[in-house]
């Protein structure tokens, strides 16, 4: 699959840089839209000089991202230091498989956001409450108010870190294959296979009181 320079990503063909220091105003909506469509990111940090990449839940709240986890987990502990923890937080949506006539021009339609920065632990109780609600709401809007909020013991076991949206880039590939002109006559099927996330019918827990109906926020299709 192709990866023509100047793409920063290895294999994803043509890319559209959508945010730079010069174009922050225009691009903010693009970045927010990509972030808001997801809830699982890949969080990178450095441990003993080596990279570590872990899947984790996140939420966007304004120009800030929140990630939470056990107070004992490595990145959460690292963020507790005064200097914070250098991280890279990446969110990717795959939208299609791009099948060109040439193997080289095979690609993926995708949208991604890469955030670089220093993560800091959130200690203010008010901000922690906002962040924890936001993380529940990110995946299932409407759910935070329809569940029992964390008690003191649970709060004590939960670390929250924040990462401001300062150094952010979005990359998007859309459209069909980009074959070389001399390949157009080759006898291979060419086009795009769309890819999307699908939500199934909610499955009640075995011990759910059958008199409790499916809430409205789950009756509509999730993810728009």
């Amino acid at each position: 699959m192709s990866s023509a320079p100047p793409a920063a990503y290895a294999p994803t063909g043509r890319t559209v840089p959508t945010r730079s220091r010069e174009r922050a105003a225009y691009d903010r909506d693009v970045v927010h839209a990509i972030l808001d469509e997801g809830y699982v990111c890949h969080l990178g940090f450095v441990r003993d000089g080596a990279p570590v990449v872990l899947p984790t839940l996140y939420a966007r709240h304004g120009e800030r991202l929140y990630v939470h986890g056990s107070t004992g987990s490595r990145p959460l502990r690292g963020a507790r230091e005064d200097a914070g923890l250098a991280v890279c937080l990446t969110v990717t949506h795959v939208d299609g498989l791009v099948l060109a006539r040439s193997a080289f021009h095979h690609s993926i339609n995708y949208r991604s956001v890469v955030v670089h920065g220093t993560a800091h632990q959130v200690t203010d109780p008010g901000e922690r409450a906002v962040a924890l609600d936001a993380i529940v709401e990110q995946a299932v809007p409407g759910r935070a108010a329809d569940s029992r909020r964390a008690d003191a013991k649970e709060l004590a076991a939960t670390a929250v870190i924040r990462l401001d949206l300062l150094e952010v880039s979005a990359k998007i590939r859309t459209g069909g294959p980009n074959d070389e002109p001399e390949d157009i006559a080759l006898p291979y099927w060419t086009g795009v296979v769309p890819v999307a996330r699908r939500y199934g019918t909610p499955v009640p827990a075995d011990d759910l009181d059958p008199s409790i109906p499916l809430p409205g926020y789950l009756s509509r299709p999730l993810g728009k």
Copy 2:
């Protein structure tokens, strides 16, 4: 959302470590199955002391992973050094949203594999050909033989790196919510919303010769 130790991942609740040095034989199939179901990974490396996480295509070939990209891209250049490039390659599948009665026990059903190691550039022409075919086949089995393979110029522009499956862990969360006994009577709906990847009907390129039919490997549903 909960993250009880000893989970290595921040927010994903109970996890099942499925590979360790002691249990490699049992776990190899689990690791392979998770890797084989995907084709986009998140590749982490260290640049100027800071972490970088980029989405990229990969393929598994036996006990080895391949990633490719432009010869000019940062991780591919880094892997060219004799010492190779320290990387962390992570593949994650999201299978469900787990809605507990308490916010704390909200979670995600998922399967993930994390591979740590040193990536090296592949220079042997035969192995490079195998790797490039494998990357096309990873997303669309059957496609490599039904496309024009890379010519000398394209091969010269493409770097391939390999990462052996030596230091690998898989984590899996399945099942329903794990609420506290004292929360069972709370009046909140609880259960799991299934999540899966969906492939749409293939969309032919505008310039596709209409006499070329959809190939058999695209007539069946992708991704099983």
